[in-house]
Subunit: 252 residues, 2 copies
Amino acid sequence: MIRVVLCGTGNLSQQLFNAFRASDLVEVVQVAGRNEDNLEVFKKYTVTTTNFDRLEQADVYVMAVSDNAIESLGQKIGKGLLVHTSGSTSINKLPDTIRRGVFYPLQTISKNLNIEFAQVPVCLEAEDEDDYLVLERLANTISKSVLRLNSTKRFNLHTAAVFANNFSNHLWNIGEEICEQNDLPADLLKPLIMETTRKLGHMSSFEAQTGPARRGDTITIKKQMEALEKPSHREIYKAITQSIQETYAKEL
Amino acid sequence: MIRVVLCGTGNLSQQLFNAFRASDLVEVVQVAGRNEDNLEVFKKYTVTTTNFDRLEQADVYVMAVSDNAIESLGQKIGKGLLVHTSGSTSINKLPDTIRRGVFYPLQTISKNLNIEFAQVPVCLEAEDEDDYLVLERLANTISKSVLRLNSTKRFNLHTAAVFANNFSNHLWNIGEEICEQNDLPADLLKPLIMETTRKLGHMSSFEAQTGPARRGDTITIKKQMEALEKPSHREIYKAITQSIQETYAKEL
């Protein structure tokens, strides 16, 4: 049995809590958070506290908190095998006086939408081999995809994920906005988005690229860019179109 | 029975051919294309020709050709109810001396990947009401989602689709490229991409937005931007981050 104390009460903490609770091999012995109200959802299942000086004994202390809280909370806890869950934060932001590590699930976490962790890559880092093995055992209880990455690689993976996930999502939002500006139902785009994703199961995103930029259809590119009402949309259109044209320059 | 002549032999033409052939209400009486070799795949099912002056009698002539071929081919065919299949091309590019229209399936078409047209919005335009009804009957044979749009709305819808589909796909490609540059398996991003899409079934893309830009995490934004090797990636990072920050400015 791996004893875990979870620090933080946000979306990721709640999702990890549910995932760990579903495993016979993990016991979340405590959840700690600054705000009493936010601890409410955990109370019927485990011990909670607002006092980070009074944490239970545990094999792993998991900090699921915002990036800018990691350093100070890490110093405050200052014991055990302490891990943070951030993609872009170095292991060195944790105190070097303790056993430290990283437990980063590569996923987009939203309120009220359960994550199926089984397919989610969990990226681990630890300085000590025994500590790594503990984290690996813990990660294996929730995911089939566990890998060891140092802080630099994890940082770059997070950057890649920002493009693939956060930025893509914003482009969908812009697509919907353009529809709304033109009295078109935004739902029209959904089948297209679903199909674009489905394609990835059959071909690389490099092969799957279609559209005016890849075809080098400069007339359509010019007309579309001119029709965009928002300057920010024009900037994005220009930057991505240039990048697509560079990527497929040899074809044209 | 609706009699159709298909002009063009590319991906869209092949997909439409298969979809029409699956319907008892449509007969593709002929496929016309400039290149004899490209007609080969159609030959065992229907009549083919390379001579656009020798088209069969039909209820609808469907031109599934590249945007820049529409005007000249339209003049060459110059008869019947003639429709093009382009999102960004006005109906006025077809000769005004004939019955003309537009039959635009909002979808991303790739070689060797069959489209399920049932969910694909088919956007129609016609000047004459009787012609519109013919196109509507034809569209209903392949899709449950048929709508009437004028050329301006269709153009804007196509622009929205470029963001939601073409541009998103390129961001996935950039994500994979960043992985490869850093010796990370590009497949790591796939579960994240799938989950990002799945979310759209449960919430709007506006709500689903996560990441450093939405959180206003300027430290991570700066670090990630500096770590990007390609100038074109930095331009995109900057433009989309600014747009996200504008979109969620009230929250920060």
